[in-house]
């Protein structure tokens, strides 16, 4: 017998709701569901396999496809790339960029790499003091300028420092900003042009809903994203936002932030996340 639309409808709807309730964006879920429907309708149904099981497996494969479309091993990248490596962290306000830099710095140190941090958020109150504290906790050199200084200049100076002092990795913290601000997005572009980062990492939070698609898309369009890190998975375990971000940027997700401590960073595992989403 052949799979028909009718018997696929209920399991597809059920999974659609489950994904939406786990914070996967509507546009991505709709695309996913219609693709799975196209693939399954008219397919020969094997003995003893029910429509529900088939749908779940098809969704699982489609999700894994979205998440593993682009793979990038951060540790390998750092090991193989010519030094110093300049990595910039960007994203909207409050997503966890500064805290994530501290976590990545800790991880790099544990692998024996030397790190210097660029305090390129020269705008927000207490931003320099915040990352200064993290740098001091980790015993890492920090380069900062006056409040209000040009962020591109801070990054530039930090890369210069790295070259002169044989530091392998520069981690640049930038101010949070809305993709709706033309000036602030242009400022990021300037940082990119002037300092030519080896990697631009978009940091967003798992707590965000449908807007995760729009902001990832806009940041990628206006500035360019090489990879993403998804934070606050300890708050919202389901990580549907990972699907939204991976799908709208087609860029790899490197790490997941799972708390506020320096150890709370785990390597992204697509299978693990998909199991959580479909459990």
């Amino acid at each position: 017998t052949v799979l028909g639309e009718k018997e696929l409808r209920a399991p597809l709807e059920e999974l659609e709701v489950a994904l939406l309730e786990n914070d996967a964006a509507l546009s991505v879920v709709e695309e996913l569901i219609s693709q799975v429907k196209r693939d399954l309708v008219g397919k020969r149904k094997k003995w003893g396999v029910d429509a529900e099981g088939l749908v779940k497996n098809a969704i699982r494969d489609a999700l894994l496809n979205i998440l593993s479309a682009q793979k990038l091993d951060f540790d390998e990248f750092v090991s193989n790339r010519e030094k110093p490596i300049n990595i910039a962290f960007i994203g909207v306000n409050g997503t966890g960029k500064t805290t994530t830099i501290a976590k990545v710095a800790k991880r790099l140190l544990s692998y024996g790499h030397s790190v210097v941090i660029a305090a390129a958020d020269t705008y927000r109150a207490g931003a320099t003091e915040q990352i200064e504290q993290h740098a001091s906790n980790l015993g890492i050199k920090l380069i900062k300028h006056q409040y209000g200084a040009d962020p591109a200049a801070v990054v530039y100076d930090t890369v210069k420092y790295a070259k002169a002092n044989r530091k392998e990795v520069v981690l640049s913290d930038t101010a949070g900003r809305m993709h709706t601000s033309v000036n602030l997005m242009e400022q990021l572009n300037k940082i990119r042009r002037v300092t030519k980062p080896d990697m631009v990492i978009f940091v967003d939070e798992a707590v965000a809903g449908n807007d995760a698609v729009e902001r990832a898309k806009r940041f990628d369009e206006l500035v360019g994203i090489d990879a993403s890190i998804l934070t606050k998975l300890d708050i919202d375990e389901n990580g549907g936002a990972a699907i939204s971000i991976a799908h709208s940027t087609s860029k790899p997700i490197l790490f997941l932030g799972i708390g506020q401590g320096y150890e709370d960073l785990k390597k992204f595992d697509a299978e693990w996340l998909v199991d959580k989403l479909l459990s």
Binding site: L20, V92, A125, N210, K232, I235
Partner: protein, 287 residues
């Protein structure tokens, strides 16, 4: 976006003077998609669309079907959203709580500025002893607008959050509005939830505001409920509405906390705080 597709489907209704089930189903589907994309809780979207469908079909013949359906949608959403919450221009203690990075600290300064412009004397107390440079951040914001600031540095080392706030309230006895900033926390952090529960019990702030990021997704109701259970929320502030997020999570938060929205944050400067207006909020949400 809803406005275009909704315009299209209700244009079809306008072609006929009667509302038939087929057209209503189409319009309701469009509304569902708009609400889901606006981050309204899925269960609430289902509930709302049933009521909208039911009400739209009840009146088979109307003078203007298009306006009728839109009116129903607005009314149903307004029922959930309720009226704006008025924070009184009076002597009070205001406690700010919410998830990490939602804008509590920035909003403390914005609120202080708001009361200052209204002729009251605000003062700010920092009860966030966890985040690196949290005090420094808030101190800088307060210095910029000439508002007095109190934090753990004013006390001997190792004082708890309750002691810090009590000392601050005492210090600022001559000030009208005392605004208390707390650390970000979430529903699963038992000790942190217990902390604000104790703070509320010992300090008795008249206002307990939940600061919510406009982009919050389906977690809104779970988190709002946890904060409400812990301290009884009296009002909500939605931040970062200058982005593209529609703030649908606010609907869930309003219904979970049985309160309303007081203000909206619309940017990073201290003046970027507006009083909440439900029809502006809804027309922005429905695109």
């Amino acid at each position: 976006k809803l406005s275009n597709s909704l315009k299209e489907t209700v244009r079809k209704i306008a072609m006929s003077n009667r509302i038939d089930k087929h057209i209503v189903d189409e319009v309701v589907r469009d509304i569902q998609r708009a609400l889901i994309q606006a981050d309204v809780k899925i269960a609430l979207v289902k509930e709302l669309s049933n009521r909208i469908r039911e009400r739209s079909l009840k009146e088979k013949m109307v003078l203007n079907p298009r306006e009728h359906v839109i009116k129903v949608v607005y009314e149903e959403l307004m029922t959930v959203l309720g009226k704006a919450v008025e924070v009184p221009l009076a002597s009070q203690k205001i406690m700010m709580v919410g998830l990490h990075g939602t804008g509590k600290t920035s909003t403390c300064a914005k609120l202080a500025r708001y009361f200052q412009k209204k002729g009251l004397k605000p003062a700010v107390i920092c009860a966030d002893v966890y985040r690196p440079a949290a005090s420094e951040q808030l101190r800088q914001l307060c210095d910029r607008i000439g508002v007095p600031f109190f934090d753990s540095a004013n006390l001997p080392q190792g004082k708890g959050v309750v002691e810090i706030v009590k000392a601050g309230v005492e210090e600022f006895e001559k000030y009208d509005v005392k605004i208390i900033d707390t650390a970000g926390r979430h529903a699963l952090e038992q000790e942190m939830i217990e902390e604000i529960h104790e703070l509320r019990a010992k300090v008795k702030p008249e206002q307990r505001i939940l600061v919510l990021d406009a982009s919050i997704g389906q977690q809104a109701s779970v988190q709002a409920r946890a904060f409400d259970d812990a301290i009884g929320i009296t009002g909500i502030i939605i931040t970062k509405m200058d982005g593209t997020a529609k703030g649908g999570g606010a609907l869930s938060a309003v219904s979970e906390t049985d309160t309303g929205i007081a203000f909206v944050g619309t940017g990073e400067t201290v003046d970027d705080l507006e009083k909440f207006e439900s029809d502006r909020f809804l027309s922005r949400m429905l695109g």
